[in-house]
């Protein structure tokens, strides 16, 4: 199944063209983290410290993805 991806700030630099990705039924955020790291090993350190949001709510690693989930990868923020 496909999920939508949104990348921001430093994470965006690692995945400039990736807008969606295929994951398996039952895959969690933890699985997605691994898939993304495998896709681009250079992103590992920033992914480790990034939060994930699904449909605009922050979720934990055990959150299970669904078809069409909009997943935002949020590196540490620094507003102000």
């Amino acid at each position: 199944m496909d999920i939508q991806l949104l990348f921001f700030a430093a994470v965006k630099d690692h995945f400039p063209d990736l807008k969606k990705i295929e994951v398996s039924e039952g895959d969690s955020i933890l699985n997605l983290r691994k898939i993304l790291t495998h896709t681009n090993p250079g992103s590992e350190s920033i992914l480790k410290v990034s939060r994930f949001a699904v449909n605009q709510s922050i979720v934990n690693d055990d959150f299970v993805l669904r078809e069409g989930s909009v997943v935002a990868v949020l590196p540490p923020s620094s507003g102000g």
Partner: protein
């Protein structure tokens, strides 16, 4: 970027502070904090910044933080606006306004709001340096800035 104009707390337009305060008769204390783009960070000369936000989520989270502040303190006024896009040195990046009957609540709640906005809200800063290089900020590591 014009779509950003529809958000209450995220703005792509310059922020200006005014000497006028909200017209609330019961209000005896009003605190205004401005976060300003400075020309130096970690010893490097900064020429300008760019702020990026996950705007719909950032807008909702700031609304939630303001609501939490209103629950914790007896506030008559609370607002926060954060800029996105390109900002020059000395431009205002963020403002937090709080007003209450007495100054203590206004000061305390203002600090609470800006600290949570800086740590939690999905807004990122890219610094551009005088040598032509640029870098995304690593996040908030200095509690007092």
């Amino acid at each position: 970027m014009s779509v950003l104009e529809t958000y209450s707390y995220i703005s792509s337009s310059p922020i200006f502070v005014s000497s006028d305060v909200p017209d609330i008769p019961e209000m005896g204390g009003f605190v205004l904090f401005s976060g300003i783009v400075r020309n130096l960070n970690e010893g490097k000369k900064v020429t300008h910044l760019e702020y990026e936000a996950y705007a719909p989520m950032a807008d909702e989270m700031i609304a939630g933080i303001l609501s939490d502040a209103r629950k914790k303190w007896d506030l008559l006024h609370a607002n926060c606006i954060h800029r996105v896009g390109k900002l020059e040195i000395s431009e205002i990046a963020v403002i937090v306004e709080t007003g209450s009957m007495h100054r203590a609540e206004a000061y305390e709640s203002n600090r609470y709001i800006i600290d949570r906005v800086k740590h939690e809200v999905p807004i990122w800063k890219k610094e551009f340096y005088i040598d032509g290089s640029s870098q995304w900020s690593k996040g908030c590591v200095h509690e007092s800035h």
